[in-house]
Amino acid sequence: MVKNQWARQLAGMLCLAFMLCASQVFAGEQAERAIAATNAMIASGEVRRDAVIKVAFKSGNIAALLGPALELQQEWEQRTGVMINARVIPQQPALLNLKANPDIDLTVARTNEFPDLLDQGLVEDLLPMAKQFGFSIDGKPPTGYIRPRLQGYLGERLVAVPADGDVMLLYLRRDLLESPVEKAAFRKAFGRELEVPRTWQEYDRLVGFFHRPQQGLHGVAEQRERTGGWMFWMPRYYSQAEQMPRLFDDKLKAQIDSPAGIAATESYIRVIRHSPADILADGKDYSYTMPLFMQGKAFASIFTVAGAKLLNSANSSVRGKFMAVPIPGTMQGKTLVRRNVPIYGNNLVVSTRGAQRKLAFLFTMWLTDPDISVRTVGVKGGFTDPFRWNHLNDARIRELYTADALAVFAREWEAAVSPGTGLPGDGDYLEVLDQNLWLAAGGRQSAAEAMRRTAQEWDKITQRNGREKLSSWLKIFNDGLTVSEAGSKATR
């Protein structure tokens, strides 16, 4: 009797241990599982020992993902014997790169590109392979991926494995914000305290106050060139109402010519007068705005958490003088409504036409392991930003980004919603929006006109791509907005 009781207790303990192991991935375990699966495939003859995985990354991403001296590539090759053939592809949408390079197995794609890639059958649904190889893509701390449903899924399909976390942050000059002289001047001018802006209106007032071009200080260096305007417009649009404004209604009629769209566009345009004179010129992207802030020539800027790494580097004039704060929003009654959008993110996708799809997936599994990935994120001068919760607690990464910036970064994911339109043809929609935002920012049309034209063009694109087909995609996208996961707040 006693013996049976003891046996039951032991079985219970073993079950508990198994459940703990299954519920979260321990550092290094995911990588070892990928290595073991790869070696098992080779031993069984399913793949040849001299097999080659063809990966294609954009310029700079090769070193960012495979290590500055390709040490991660070498480690993988030494441990499995499977070679990595890495090539550079142009800075253009993943759709074009995958079409132009049918032989590649693995590449990167941004979240808003998923619908096009799936619609054209260019990338694999990774769930069957994840199941086969025991790969868990949960988002639970302390080691899980940050917001995997947002960054990797489209509906119930696992399109990508996140390998970069690019939610936007607002960067301000802490030294100026805390200066007694500035505080007094601000109080005198506006009758209120100088503090971190919570709304877009406060933000506009604040950057206007610090706009002193004659002293070599611009109020804000926020990217406004012809392309990419949507990234800075969408957080403004989505924060215009407590019930999140949608880009399309259920019948796919464009909604952005609404008061919310016009208000967001006006907010987008308003900061132009507090920006450098050539901010609208082509090519003035983050490689123009971030160095301005880094050299102390701008009071504010908006960019991903990568900005914190840059501004905290030894080369930065504002090291120790800047702060990262949440993206502003709008006051709806007494409630502050803020929403953020991840941009630029590098998510790893497996091509449907690659010869080594399973190996590519296993390599992805290995590369994004909690331990392995720390070695790509915690590198000076690297491109890859934190994408797993354990990155935020790593001492090297905290030193690179600053603990304060990482804390804000972690909180901003709670307000993050899916980028882009969620529809096939996303590139066309965003291009039209970018073009009209740029014309409006240059004073060639009003905000209302810009939104009206964009809505008209969007309706044409919808008509061209097939309204009925797009309806099902829109439903998937909208359903995804309301999915709750670790680190998020459900969107209404």
Binding site: N315, A355, G381, G382
Partner: protein
């Protein structure tokens, strides 16, 4: 010491070998010592000279790498890439700081001055690099490049020159050490050779002495044996008895006595035996005469005949068997029958013997060889029975059936192969594809069906004749066969169409490699009758099972993909996919809707203004076709024009547009003097019969001056049938119509076309104007195009102008005419008449007085 009384041959040999072995061991030891000394000298040379040299080269490579990083730094425009490069650069500087420091210490012991110079150059270079890193941090890339080209290359070159100088000195010292070591090695080798020669002479002398002693005594013994054989008297054998040869001489004496006794008895027996043989011979002669007759029948039979015993050994072979098989009959006697039959499978021969032994007839037709030549033979095997019906022998007949087989094979070949190229024909190709698909279905692999069609082959046939075309096809077949893998099938389906079946694939993309090899095979020109011909393939690929499981479906899909390759510009390959199928359906749908669209008034013409660059005056318009289909909605010209071009509707559409444009021009020219109407003409319409007559008719019907009508053609039209195109252009030029080259810069952009053909105008493509403000290369092309047109006396029109900035730039380059959304969208005739005729646009720099400006004369 007492010597043994008997010193045998074995002892003598052992003593000799021991002496020779000792000598050889001594020589080997001496050689080994010399080799060791030589190796030690080589290692010493390596330690003292070669390793420092390797370190120097490593240092040079590292400095070169640093220079490369420095050069890259000035060209990185992404701020993160730049930061990454700065981090790498600083890391490399730190490493080189340590390595050059350590090397300077070593160098300083031998050459203090050079060590000091190296440290100085490095300090200077490092300070430049630090300066560049600071500038790069501030995104001052021009400053970085300035230092790269103006400041850092001198200390860099100085370091490299100094390291090269030190390396040369080290190399020189290493050479000298190597020569000395070589000389010492040669001297040692000479000594060793003398030693070997001396040892060899000693061994030779010993062998010569021993040999002479043995040979003399064996000679005596040989002489006595010869005399015994000849029956001569030989006397006593005089050999001393102290070794084995002495023993042999004594035994020989005893044997000689016994032989003489037995010889006498044998002679008596011989006489008796000869008598018995004579009697038996007489009996046999009678039997032989009968046998000879039968033998002659067999001997002279044209069929090869072989007789073997039941046990299988050959007894008789007739000459015909030898002639047919090419083997000497005598060589086959007493050979096993199984081997003589030479069946491919030994089991066949075993079976043949069993069948024949059981009383049956066994027969086979098989390939065989006669010397170096091959032939076909028919073998028949049966048993020969005695008068009691018992099998006593086996009879094998052999016939040469090569001629019969050849006739049969020729008939089969003609049914399955293409006589012109020798490749499998459509029948065999289908069969091979079915087989490959069956194999793939069984093994789980993939098969690629590749449909290949030659581009422009019809022109070769039409212009150079069918004989040349046939010769070209033969060469194409050879190149294709050489380009594919051994197991792949290349077949000619007819005309200039080929099918390639590639089986055993694990992935569809492996077919891409095969297709690329085939395309590469067409790069070199074909030479037919000393004339160089160029052609290219368009290849469509369908993969089993991805694109179909039925071979016929695969063929159809490969054919569709081939047409996609042709539409995409030819000389390429395309994989079949769903979108090709959909595109094909979409084209069919567009073609269906387009038929009758003109009658249903679904088409209309819009006009886009042409603006004079220097003052903004409207000088003309370009007529553009639009289609609003009730079924398909607003269809883009880029979508329906290619379909119309393909199905020939473009000729009717083009005629209608030209008439509409001329009718409109007739009205506007009354409102604005010199107004010019530009009309696009597609290649098919341009080549259609009566095109020039139609233009002439329009001009006459609407009373429009020819110089106010401008015909726009694209550069691609000039690539083929230049003689025909030139004739049409000359006729149009003769009418007085203006001629314009459209989309300049997107094709071959050949200056020769502009010079050789009678163009009045060049239109620079919008893609170059879009980025003219930012893209330096686009700006350079536009400037070059304008200068070239000016030099040739041509007028230049810039398309796609959208901003004042572009206008200002183009005006500064003396561009004549502008067109683009900066001036407005294309509009209907009535809108254009109200808004644009006799109007002008305000220039970016400010207003200018309005004036009517005719189209700029050429």
């Amino acid at each position: 010491m007492k010597l043994p009384s008997r010193f045998g041959l074995l002892q003598q040999l052992l003593l000799g070998f021991a002496g020779a072995g000792l000598l050889v061991l001594t020589l080997l030891y001496a050689g080994s010592r010399m080799l060791e000394q030589s190796t030690e000298r080589l290692v010493d040379t390596l330690e003292r000279h070669v390793r420092p040299l390797a370190r120097l080269h490593g240092l040079q490579a590292r400095v070169g790498n640093l220079r490369n990083m420095e050069l890259e730094l000035g060209h990185l425009e992404d701020v993160f890439a730049l930061q990454s490069q700065i981090t790498r650069l600083r890391g490399e500087i730190a490493i080189l700081d340590r390595e050059i420091g350590a090397f300077s210490v070593v160098l300083g012991k031998q050459s203090p001055n050079e060590a000091q110079r190296l440290a100085g150059h490095w300090r200077e270079y490092r300070s430049r690099l630090d300066q560049q890193a600071r500038l790069a941090t501030d995104m001052d890339l021009a400053g970085v490049r300035g230092i790269t080209s103006g400041g850092s290359h001198i200390p860099y070159l100085s370091i490299q020159a100094l390291l090269t100088e030190v390396a040369e000195q080290t190399e020189s010292a290493a050479d000298q050490a190597y020569q000395k070591a070589t000389q010492e090695q040669q001297a040692q080798r000479r000594d060793f050779l003398w030693l070997v020669l001396l040892g060899g002479m000693v061994i030779f002398a010993g062998l010569a002495y021993s040999g002479q002693t043995v040979v003399r005594r064996v000679g005596i013994l040989h002489e006595h044996a010869r005399k015994l054989a000849a029956g001569e008297e030989s006397g006593t054998i005089a050999i001393a008895r102290h070794d084995e040869i002495g023993d042999l001489a004594e035994a020989f004496g005893s044997m000689r006595q016994q032989v003489l006794t037995r010889e006498a008895a044998l002679r008596a027996s011989q006489v008796e035996l000869e008598q018995r043989v004579a009697e038996r011979t007489a009996d046999l002669k009678s039997a032989n005469r009968r046998l000879v007759r039968f033998s002659q029948v067999v001997e002279q039979n044209p069929v090869g005949i072989l007789i073997a015993r039941i046990g299988g050994m050959v007894e008789f072979v007739n000459p015909a068997f030898g002639r047919i098989t090419g083997r000497n009959p005598d060589d086959l006697i007493e050979q096993p029958l199984i081997e003589v039959m030479r069946t491919a499978d030994p089991l066949d021969a075993d079976n043949a013997l069993r069948v024949a032994a059981a009383g049956g007839i066994w027969e086979i037709e098989q390939p065989s060889r006669r010397g170096d030549s091959a032939y076909w033979e028919r073998l028949r095997l049966g048993a020969v029975h005695d008068e009691k019906g018992r099998p006593t022998h086996l009879l094998l007949s052999c016939e040469d059936i090569t001629e019969q087989r050849s006739q049969m094979e020729k008939i089969t070949y003609q049914a399955h192969y293409d006589l012109l190229t020798g490749l499998p024909n459509r029948v065999l190709a289908n069969d091979r594809l079915i087989q490959a698909v069956s194999r793939a279905r069984r093994d789980g692999g993939k098969v690629a069906a590749m449909y290949l069609d030659l581009d422009n082959f019809k022109e070769v046939n039409d212009t150079l004749g069918h004989a040349t075309g046939d010769a070209l096809l033969r060469q194409v077949a050879q190149r294709l066969s050489a380009a594919v893998r051994g197991e792949d099938v290349v077949a000619r389906l007819g005309g200039d169409e080929f099918l390639i079946v590639a089986g055993g694939l694990t992935h569809g993309d492996e077919a891409a490699a095969v297709a690329e090899k085939m395309i590469a095979a067409f790069v070199a020109p074909f030479v037919v009758d000393e004339r160089e011909l160029t052609t290219s393939p368009s290849i469509g690929i369908a993969i089993y099972p991805d694109d179909g499981t039925d071979p016929m479906v695969l063929m159809r899909n490969a054919d569709l993909a081939m047409y996609e390759a042709k539409d995409s510009g030819r000389n390429m390959y395309r994989f079949y996919n769903r979108s090709i199928h959909d595109l094909s359906l979409q084209r069919l749908e567009i073609g269906r809707c387009l038929r009758g669209a003109l009658e249903r008034q679904e088409l209309h013409v819009v006009y886009h203004p042409l603006v004079r660059a220097d003052n903004g005056c409207i000088v003309g318009a370009e007529a553009l076709l639009r289609w609003n289909s009730p079924e398909l909605g607003e269809v883009q010209p880029s979508t329906f024009i290619p379909v119309a071009e393909q199905n020939g509707l473009i000729v009717d559409l083009g005629r209608w547009v030209l008439r509409e444009a001329c009718a409109t021009l007739a009205r506007w020219r009354l409102q604005q003097e010199g107004f010019v109407m530009a009309v696009n003409v597609s290649p098919r319409q341009f080549r259609s019969s009566g095109f020039v007559a139609m233009v002439r008719e329009c001009l006459g019907e609407f009373d429009v001056p020819a110089q106010q009508l401008e015909i726009e053609i694209t550069e691609g039209l000039l690539l083929r049938n230049q003689g025909e195109v030139r004739a049409i252009l000359d006729e149009l030029h003769g009418l007085g119509v203006r001629l314009s080259m459209d989309d300049f810069g997107t094709g071959y952009s050949s200056l020769s076309y502009l010079r050789e053909f009678p163009f009045h105008t060049v239109k620079i493509d919008r893609s170059f104007i879009n980025d003219v403000s930012e893209d330096r290369s686009d700006r350079a092309l536009v400037i070059a195009a304008v200068r070239m047109a000016q030099a040739l006396g041509l007028q230049i029109i810039a398309e796609g102008v959208e901003t004042d900035e572009q206008w200002t730039f183009l005006m500064a380059q003396d561009c004549d005419i502008l067109q683009g959304f900066r001036f407005g969208q294309p509009v209907t005739e009535s809108s254009f008449g109200k808004t644009w005729v006799n109007a002008r646009v305000v220039r970016p720099e400010g207003d200018q007085p309005a004036r009517k400006v005719p189209f700029i004369p050429v």
